[in-house]
């Protein structure tokens, strides 16, 4: 997936996560994560964001995520949405009940 612009998905509401994606030429995936449940779920959130980027074939990007206790499914959906928007792709393959 080719990232073309900066894009955002999600909100700052409780149980949501706001993910901002910025295209990069190199340097791999740089993740800046803050979370209200950092101690308990910081590792897990990072893992889900990186997995989602990898699944969509994104190799280089700056991803800023502000988490307010989102579940894994939300983290995955918001990250995916931000990446699709950054790639200016409308027809992503959405999954339900994963």
């Amino acid at each position: 997936m080719d990232l073309k612009r900066t894009a955002v998905a999600g909100t700052m509401e409780s149980s949501d996560i706001m993910v901002t994606v910025e295209p990069r030429e190199s340097g791999g995936i740089v993740l800046e994560l803050t979370s209200s449940v950092m101690k308990q779920y910081g590792r897990r959130i990072e893992q889900v964001i990186r997995e989602t980027a990898a699944e969509l074939g994104v190799e280089n990007a700056l991803i800023c995520a502000v988490d307010k206790g989102a579940l894994d499914c939300t983290v995955r959906a918001r990250t995916g949405a931000a990446l699709f928007r950054a790639a200016e792709q409308e027809n992503g393959t959405w999954e339900v009940g994963r």
Partner: protein, 509 residues
């Protein structure tokens, strides 16, 4: 006369005070002229402290009936620090966010030990990071009353804020003389301190005429009185009525808990109860009220921290008696003032394990929880990040005393599971917790198979606590364990004042 004394057989068994030697001068001035003279009012807090004989290393005590509006603790500690006192033990019935200025007094060596029911805010965070060398001792309200009564905790000087007091020391949490003064309702926790402390100083903003009846604290327990403009912020002490929650999750939990009590057989004519003040536990009262109306039954007594919901039911004639150790809102305080059978009790009467206490007469209690584990142990003291942010209150006292203890909590809060393998801090042991009600299912302690049977017969689905824990984990994922250092920053006492758990310093490295 002395000769006569010697002729009385067995005088040694009768009296050692000798013969009558005159009654002393008799006063003739009017009560009004006399009032205000020869009283216990001193012009300043400093003078009262000196008169009480406070020294370095002693134990001072406070009550928490002013909650987040309290100005007494900070005011007294500022004065004691300025007077140069050091190495004091602060034994408070509880401490709140507003007591963050204690941090400075701890850093400066004025306070070196704390006893409390709970800690919140910045002070709690600093203590979780190792601010105090000596671990903080956490006791339940009943455990504290027992420790003070037995002398395990010896109070040298009690500093007790009172919304009304007469010049001789009859003090109360409200005044029958006026409706405009600050009111905190019951002063149940302060009464134990007043009874057992060596010296008692009342701080009041409202000096009323003798006799300040009814009183919470009688004049014979009071040594000195200081009048000060500012004992607290009325808005922080109490406001209006505690509102019922509108959160559908909490309402679902409350409805389920009410059904559990009914199905378990504890909702009958003449039952007894205690409600928590948290969202879901308070809302249980609303559903119970409806069931009581339908069954045409009454409650014999409601105990505990009292809210406007309970006093409204009392005024409707649905609750015969209220035993009030702590009034949670202004409606409760006003009811205590005007209702004959809304009765103020002290902490010993409420929950001391040394006596048959009011908690021992409870049919059921509704309690909240931060965490519940698969052994039914409950934590209400430390957050899911390991930082102290709560208070024991009467949790273990009422859970142990009530025939049915029902713990209500959402299965997850945000992403944080409530039902887990092992609570961070054991406050109430699973041995006294009977039923756990969450928004996603009920679990009954295997110690109470008859309760589980009754719920099932009433058509309710009962899960194992392990199933609830698995469900929480399936939703939220398994949290990483909190990292602690070895150092112990808090010691948690069970209600019999044995050590039930410790709190360690959080590891943020």
């Amino acid at each position: 006369m002395d000769e006569l004394l010697h002729t009385i057989p067995h005088i040694d068994r009768i009296s050692h005070r000798g013969a009558f030697a005159g009654a002393g001068a008799k006063r003739t001035e009017t009560f009004r002229a006399r009032s205000g003279k020869d009283n216990k009012v001193l012009p300043s807090l400093e003078e009262a402290v000196r008169a009480a004989g406070l020294r370095d290393g002693m134990t001072i005590s406070f009550h928490h009936h002013f909650r987040g509006g309290d100005h007494v603790v900070n005011q007294v500690l500022d004065t004691l620090a300025a007077m140069g006192f050091r190495d004091l033990t602060l034994a408070a019935s509880s401490l709140a966010d507003v007591h963050a200025p204690l941090i400075r007094h701890i850093q400066n060596g004025v306070v070196t030990h704390i006893e409390t029911s709970g800690l919140r805010g910045q002070l709690a965070e600093e203590i979780s990071r190792g601010l105090l060398e000596c671990p903080v001792v956490f006791r339940s309200h009943g455990g504290r009353a027992a420790a003070i009564g037995s002398g395990e905790v010896h109070i040298d000087v009690a500093f007790l804020g009172a919304p009304s007091c007469d010049p001789y020391g009859n003090a109360n949490g409200y005044s029958r003389d006026d409706d405009t003064s600050i009111a905190c309702g019951s002063m149940g926790y302060a009464r134990t301190d007043a009874k057992y402390a060596d010296k008692v100083i009342i701080l009041t903003n409202n000096l009323v005429r003798y006799p300040n009846a009814p009183w919470a604290i009688p004049e014979y327990d009071v040594d000195y009185i200081v009048v000060t403009d500012d004992i607290g912020d009325p808005a922080g002490i109490m406001s209006g009525a505690t509102r019922y929650t509108k959160n559908p999750k909490e309402l679902l939990i409350a409805q389920t808990a009410a059904n559990v009590i009914d199905a378990a057989g504890y909702l009958y004519d003449g039952f007894s109860m205690q409600m928590g003040s948290g969202g879901a536990s308070l809302a249980v009262a609303r559903f119970l009220r409806q069931m009581m109306l339908e069954k045409k039954i009454r409650c014999r007594f409601a105990l505990g921290g009292i809210t406007g919901q309970i006093t409204a039911m009392h005024e409707e004639g649905m609750i015969d008696r209220i035993l009030d150790v702590q009034s949670f809102d202004l409606d409760a305080a006003l009811s205590l003032k005007k209702n004959r059978f809304h009765h103020q009790i002290d902490a010993t009467y409420y929950a001391s394990f040394l006596f048959a206490a009011a908690v021992d007469q409870l049919d059921f209690v509704i309690l909240s929880a931060l965490e519940i584990d698969t052994n039914f142990n409950v934590n209400v003291l430390t957050g899911s990040d390991g930082v102290i942010r709560g208070a024991i209150g009467g949790h273990p006292d009422t859970a142990a005393g009530a025939s049915l203890s029902v713990v209500v909590a959402p299965l997850t809060r945000g992403r944080i599971p409530t039902v887990i393998d092992r609570v961070n801090t054991i406050v109430t042991p699973g041995a006294v917790v009977d039923v756990v009600v969450t928004d996603q299912g009920i679990a009954v302690n295997p110690r109470r198979p008859e309760v589980a049977e009754k719920l099932k017969k009433a058509g309710m689905k009962v899960y194992t606590i392990q199933q609830l824990k698995d469900r929480a984990e399936a939703l939220a994922g398994r949290p990483d364990p909190i990292r602690y250092k070895d150092r112990i920053v808090g010691v948690v006492m069970y209600r019999d004042n044995t050590v039930i758990d410790v709190i360690r310093q959080i590891d943020e490295d």
